[in-house]
């Protein structure tokens, strides 16, 4: 009985993403019809350019990577109770550093050149991310504003560099020269666009998971995120954690910039990122700050982006804006679906408790709360998704921002 219910909940949880994409497509179909396009054909093209062939799948992966890396970083910052809104800027600065090393750095041979450029990208991203961290830790200044303001500064800086000092000779648009092969991330799967950036991203997923859950630094980060004041009382140097978490967060975003320059684009140019760093905020939270969840969420965004090219070209007569509309509606419906799911689950658990009269455990033995007595589904201790926990933690941390 319980199993059947649990199965049903699992079924619902799997159906939600599918259903929400479907609903978004249904709404967009009306817009496509209204402007004279054939929705079925448009969607066929959309799906085939996202997942229809090995090449398409590769494109989805390539588009997931620059979202995945900053999202991992944002998740780390959030684990420490910090909002890194500035991943977009850190990404650009990372790209700038990678291009700088590749174009003007030492003449290294293949793996070393690319590796050095990636390290430079991470270092530069870390530096850009650490600025709001330092101001937060030592001056108590809200990291949200600083990291956001630094996005605009970073973009203008990159514009300056590619429009002026590093502009490629005879270029008709603001971009540097193509970097030498020793610095490129090579294509992994011939016949697709999948480059070694994917490996970098996968390594980053594992490393992030490892850092957070397997190192003493990760434990300090989670501790500060969950309770800043308490962590301080327990002897954690909070300022160290704040600065390092923001730096690591920036490093991951910077790495994304490096991967874009050395892998996908081959050079630094204006408009390198189309809001990857901002979308990554949604991805990190949608993935509930959990590396695997973030991988899934960035694949969703990557697929929607890759599908966008198919949809855009098929839907002649319909404004290209149909693509972001589908993308956003899919996520809005997903959010609503998850909300409905959480409600169903809570109602189910309360009903279980009533039906079985699962009595709270003896006093001072709240095993019932920690989910050990009684045949109850797992994970009941976590009524709120991690993301909400992080928000709560963040706000608790704010409270402790004493003089």
């Amino acid at each position: 009985m319980i199993n059947r219910q649990r199965l049903r909940l699992q079924g619902v949880s799997l159906a939600i993403p599918v259903l929400s994409v479907f609903l978004a497509l249904a709404v967009a179909a009306a817009l496509l019809r209204a402007s004279g396009s054939n929705p079925i054909a448009a969607y066929q093209d959309m799906i085939s350019s996202a997942v229809g062939s090995p090449f398409a799948l590769g494109t989805t992966l390539v588009k997931a990577v620059p979202r995945l890396l900053p999202a991992l970083g944002i998740a780390i910052a959030l684990r420490a109770g910090l909002w890194n809104i500035g991943a977009e800027g850190q990404l650009y600065i990372g790209a700038l550093a990678a291009a700088g090393v590749a174009l003007y750095g030492p003449a290294l041979s293949f793996p070393f050149g690319a590796a050095l450029a990636l390290v430079a990208a991470m270092a530069a991203g870390a530096l850009w991310g650490a600025i709001p961290g330092v101001l937060r830790a030592f001056r108590g200044i809200n990291e949200v504003i600083i990291s956001l303001m630094l996005v605009y500064v970073a973009i203008q800086l990159v514009n300056y560099i590619v429009e002026g000092p590093w502009l490629a000779p005879h270029s008709t648009f603001p971009a540097t020269s193509i970097v030498a092969n020793a610095f490129r991330l090579p294509i992994l799967v011939p016949g697709t666009l999948v480059n070694a950036g994917l490996i970098v991203a996968l390594v980053a997923v594992v490393v992030t998971w490892f850092l957070i859950s397997r190192t003493s630094w990760g434990l300090r980060v989670r501790s500060v995120g969950a309770n800043e004041r308490g962590s301080r009382v327990l002897g954690v140097r909070v300022s160290g954690v704040v600065v390092s978490a923001m730096a690591v967060s920036g490093a991951l975003a910077g790495l994304a910039g490096g991967v874009e320059v050395l892998g996908t684009r081959g050079r630094l140019l204006e408009g390198l990122s189309s809001n990857y760093g901002f979308e990554a905020i949604a991805i990190a939270l949608l993935g509930r700050l959990n590396p695997l969840g973030i991988v899934a969420a960035s694949l969703l965004f990557g697929a929607l982006d890759a599908g966008g090219a198919g949809l855009q070209t098929a839907a002649q007569g319909t404004p290209a804006a149909i693509v972001p509309i589908v993308e956003a509606l899919a996520v809005v419906f997903l959010l609503i679906g998850l909300g409905i799911f959480e409600r169903m689950r809570a109602r189910q658990l309360a009903a279980d408790a009533l039906r079985r009269s699962v009595v709270p455990a003896p006093a001072d033995e709240s095993a019932a709360e920690s989910g050990t007595t009684g045949p109850r589904p797992p994970a009941t201790g976590r009524r709120h998704p991690d993301a909400d926990d992080a928000t709560t933690a963040l706000l608790t941390a704010r409270k402790a921002e004493g003089p």
Binding site: A226, N227, S231, R232, V233, A353, A363, S370, G381, P403
Partner: protein, 517 residues
């Protein structure tokens, strides 16, 4: 101590709960509970942590809706959908967790409460209303101070004021005295007695059996969401109530008085504090020239009203707060300039007053909480990597040793009951075998069984030669475990008594008497 109960003959039920049941996801918090409350009585509600007391009274106030069962007011079935309904029915409520908005002033909070109860009054008249209520019940508060800046007892008074402002017929109080000093608690009990005398029905939740015996007319005991019994106070005893609550008293360690101060040796004190001063956030200094010393094998108590500086003193020694002047020496070594971590390594343990916010990290697991102070040094980590297996093993050992009732090391600390949370703090701090133990309010909000466990552990540590400094507002607690008690008032030490010849009344006068000046 004299009884302050109304002693009036009991009338018919003013308000009654019939078979109410309330389930939370995974927990049946109230299971067919019956309870009736009569005009003019003080009715106490007892039960261990998590027994369902707060949930039950929350139903009366409309904070939650029962899954089944009825609420009757003067015989008629009613639905209480929220505080506005409750106010209309004449129910006032002082919640266990303060329900004031800390950033708003006392006056604004009162205005908000009245507005929420459906009885808004013009903003101009609020101070006058506060004045009037304060005068009637002897509750001094300043209308223009933000509530967050008041001492805990001040906040408690604001809660009372808000409940009384709606002129209730029924007043529910959920652990109102847990943070009050003896004098204030005494005053509160008197007020309650007076109000019952005026015909109010009062429902009082408390963990202090002695208080319950003194003030109530009847007692209802809950255990694991079920009602165990309702008894006439006159015909019961502390022992019987304890048995009703816990079920089996044999598991509870008996709290005996300490043997008179073991051997006040001539050895230099383990912990000494010299002329410590801490400037306050506001005008008055928090600590003013405090000096004291604690020897190895001694428990020293710090008595005082909430806000008289005991907690701050402990925080300075622990390194959480910095002193403006003065010295702290541990084992003769000055602690100035040492970080919290370094003090921990120097053998100082700290059990903070606010365990949820200061002592634990709720979002982490039990084993992670137990390891947080052990990062580095190889016990739980190896070159910066967590030794998960070792952490789990150690956590299991501590869970067993300190009898922490929890599913396992991986359970989130926030899911533990208050008593078990406190045991996690104790286990973590004491597992380092500290030579100096600082505790503030070590049993705040804990039930009977948990309290005795904490006391027993502190006594055991003393026997092993630790120097223990305990701050508490609960004089009975200090009398039960301390060798010496220092009384603090307004940031100074105003007296010292040896626990063998002290009485609660005597210390209480010392604590409060000077303050009145």
């Amino acid at each position: 101590m004299s009884r302050v109960g109304s002693g009036r003959p009991h009338g018919p039920a003013l308000i009654a709960l019939e078979g109410v049941t309330k389930a939370y996801p995974g927990v049946l918090a109230c299971d067919s509970v019956d309870l009736d409350l009569r005009a003019g009585e003080v009715h106490a509600l007892l039960g261990e942590n998590g027994a369902g007391k707060s949930t039950l009274v929350g139903l009366l106030f409309g904070l939650q809706q029962p899954d089944s069962g009825r609420i009757r007011v003067e015989g008629a079935e009613v639905r209480v959908r929220g505080p506005r309904d409750a106010a209309a029915l004449g129910i006032g409520f002082v919640q266990q967790h303060f329900s004031s908005i800390p950033t708003l002033t006392v006056g604004e909070n009162l205005a908000l409460a009245l507005q929420g109860a459906g009885r808004p009054i013009p903003r101009r008249t609020v101070p006058a209303r506060i004045q009037e209520l304060s005068a009637r019940y002897g509750l001094g508060v300043e209308p223009h101070r933000p509530v967050g800046q008041l001492s805990v007892s001040g906040q408690q008074r604001v809660e009372l004021l808000k409940a009384l402002a709606v002129e209730p017929r029924v007043l529910i109080l959920d652990e109102p005295s847990s943070l009050l000093g003896p004098q204030e608690a005494e005053e509160l009990l008197e007020i309650l007695g007076r109000m019952a005398g005026d015909g109010l029905a009062i429902l009082l939740i408390s963990h202090k059996l002695e208080e319950v015996l003194r003030v109530s007319d009847r007692v209802t005991v809950l255990r694991r969401g079920r009602k165990v019994a309702t008894v006439e106070t006159a015909s019961t005893s502390e022992h019987e109530l304890g048995r009703l609550m816990v079920g089996d008293l044999a598991t509870v360690q008996e709290a005996g008085r300490p043997a008179a101060a073991a051997s006040p040796s001539d050895a230099p004190p383990r912990l000494s504090i010299e002329d410590l001063t801490v400037a306050g956030d506001r005008k008055a200094d928090v600590l003013r020239g405090v000096s004291l010393s604690v020897s190895a094998g001694e428990i020293v108590g710090l008595a005082g009203l909430e806000g008289s500086g005991q907690v701050e003193l402990i925080e300075v020694v622990a390194g959480v707060r910095t002193a403006t002047s003065g010295r702290v020496l541990s084992g003769g070594v000055p602690m100035a300039g040492r970080s919290i971590r370094e003090r921990q390594q120097a053998g100082i343990a700290h059990i903070p007053a606010d365990r949820r916010n200061d002592g634990l990290v709720g979002g982490l697991s039990v084993s992670e909480n137990l390891s947080l102070t052990e990062l580095g040094g190889g016990k739980c980590t190896h070159f910066g990597l967590l030794r998960k297996r070792e952490m789990t093993r150690r956590a299991q050992e501590l869970i067993a040793r300190y009898d922490i009732r929890v599913g396992g090391p991986a359970a989130l600390v926030s899911t533990l009951s208050g008593g078990n949370q406190q045991k996690v703090v104790l286990a973590r701090e004491l597992s380092r075998d500290p030579e100096v133990i600082l505790c503030a309010y070590p049993t705040w909000g804990l039930d009977f069984a948990a309290t005795s466990a904490v006391h027993a552990e502190l006594r055991r540590r003393r026997a092993e030669g630790a120097a223990v400094l305990v701050a508490s507002v609960d004089l009975d607690e200090l009398l039960a475990i301390c060798d010496r008690i220092l009384v603090m008032q307004g940031g100074r030490i105003v007296g010292e008594v040896s626990s063998s010849n002290a009485t609660a009344e005597g210390i209480g006068r010392l604590m409060g008497g000077v303050e009145a000046a």
